[in-house]
Amino acid sequence: MKTTTRILGAAAVLAVVALVAVPAANAGCLPNKTLTGWTGSAFGYHYVNMPPGQDNNTVVGRFWQTGNRALANEGAFSDNFWLRAYAPAGPGKYYILGELGAAEVFGCPAGSITLTIDTNSGHNLTIQVPENPPALFDLGAAQTDFNFGVKPRPQVASSSRAGTAVNLQVNVQAQTGGIYTIGSAVAVTPTYRLVSASGSSDPGPNAALYTAGPAVTPGTPAPFSADCTNPAVDRWVAVQELVDGVPSDTVGARTRINCNPALADPDFKHVDRPGRPNPRSGR
């Protein structure tokens, strides 16, 4: 009886404690938190320099609570709500200002935000920013404008054919530029994996059209087997980046693996230019 009473008493205390300080549960942050490199930044105004031909309708922007995208992310908060053009500064000049109390935001990021912007042109911008002070993710603390980097393209180091498969050794270099870690945030380092798709023409940058393949470490050749069962269509290999474990929406430039056995034996791929006289042959 005594034990039961104690258990009930402890449960009651726990229930009270739980009810006393309920965190603000809302579609977005309640009260608001701000993600900014612009208004509200303690470090002035900083631009995002968009690659040529890109704008906030063509890119795919995402942000989330570092380490837990499922808990808090951009939700339905459209890119042009937080990635905004600043026309007075000229074309391609954008700034980041996102009020995370907006209902479209899913959950409320806390501690640190990881932000990525992917383009169809193979460019990427990745920023990791701590919440400091509370309720402010101050991108301006980088004290620089933000430039995009270029996603790597797979480089085939060697290849061989085995039946209907073309076996490759693929090199990937890490993305250079476009990666920023601010303040006390843990340094953000993308990981990479190969992806592939079939097609008689380039499938394009949309990552959803590719099948995920093996992870690759920059600088270390990785094996990759291209399925060439159907010689009429080629395989396209690309690199997909994963930032904080989250795969990018677009892939980098594609490398074509020609499946036609008459053309694709890499050992004999080199063809002399026809019609050019060879002085040694006497022709």
């Binding site: 229930a15 965190p23 603000a24 809302n26 105004y45 209902a103 002070p133 309720a135």
Partner: protein
């Protein structure tokens, strides 16, 4: 008393009454019919409303429980108090197993979650000498965010006017709770800010401060 004298006395008396009225306007008693909306498509996403009570509340309405009773307990799911120290909410449901009741404080805004829509008649008066402590980060405030009970007859009728009345340099932003989405509209008053919005008597607003100000609202 001649007719002329009578009119003269009447004019003076009227002037005295008007003058007194003008002097008392700021703290005279008043009523506000404020709709507290339950969940309804296109009107309220969850039945959550903000509520700004007068500085001098109706007699007896001094705690979450008495506020719920005044509105009608059966119509109210809970009353929520904003906690500056952790940007969280203390919730009182008034039901079995509920957390402890909490006192209402002058100048504080509250969330009221409704199960049934009620046109709540708010009764009370303004205290023109009350200084709202709007706290910046530090000293017990997690982020400098305050849930401000907007006085019904403030001269500031927009977010921008409120920021200016407090002192623009001291305010980071003003946030309006949107019932239809349970989201917030934020006005910063700075370059690249979203649009200004009107302040509505009965609503409470989040005011985020960069510098602590004891704010005495301008009023008419």
């Amino acid at each position: 008393m001649t007719k002329r004298t009578y009119i003269g006395v009447l004019t003076v008396a009227l002037a005295v009454v008007l003058a007194a009225g003008g002097l008392l306007a700021s703290n005279m008693g008043f009523k506000l019919n404020y709709p507290l909306q339950a969940l309804q498509a296109g009107v309220s996403l969850s039945g959550t409303n903000t509520l700004a009570l007068p500085d001098n509340r109706q007699a007896g309405v001094n705690a979450a429980s008495s506020l719920m009773n005044d509105i009608g307990l059966a119509n109210v799911t809970n009353v929520q108090k904003f906690l500056e120290s952790n940007d969280g909410l203390q919730v009182y449901t008034g039901r079995k197993g509920a957390g402890p009741d909490f006192p209402l404080a002058t100048g504080e805004g509250y969330f009221v979650k409704m199960s049934t829509t009620v046109n709540y008649i708010v009764v009370g008066s303004h205290d023109p000498s009350f200084a709202n402590p709007l706290n910046a980060l530090g000293g017990g405030s997690n982020s400098g965010t305050n849930f401000f009970s907007y006085p019904y007859h403030s001269t500031a009728t927009t977010a921008s006017a409120l920021m200016n009345d407090i002192g623009l340099a001291n305010v980071t932003n003003v946030q309006k709770f949107l019932k239809t989405t349970d989201g917030l509209q934020v006005y910063t008053g700075r370059k690249g800010a979203g649009p200004d919005f009107a302040l509505i008597p009965g609503e409470a607003y989040f005011v985020k401060m960069s510098t602590t100000v004891n704010y005495v609202p301008s009023h008419y």
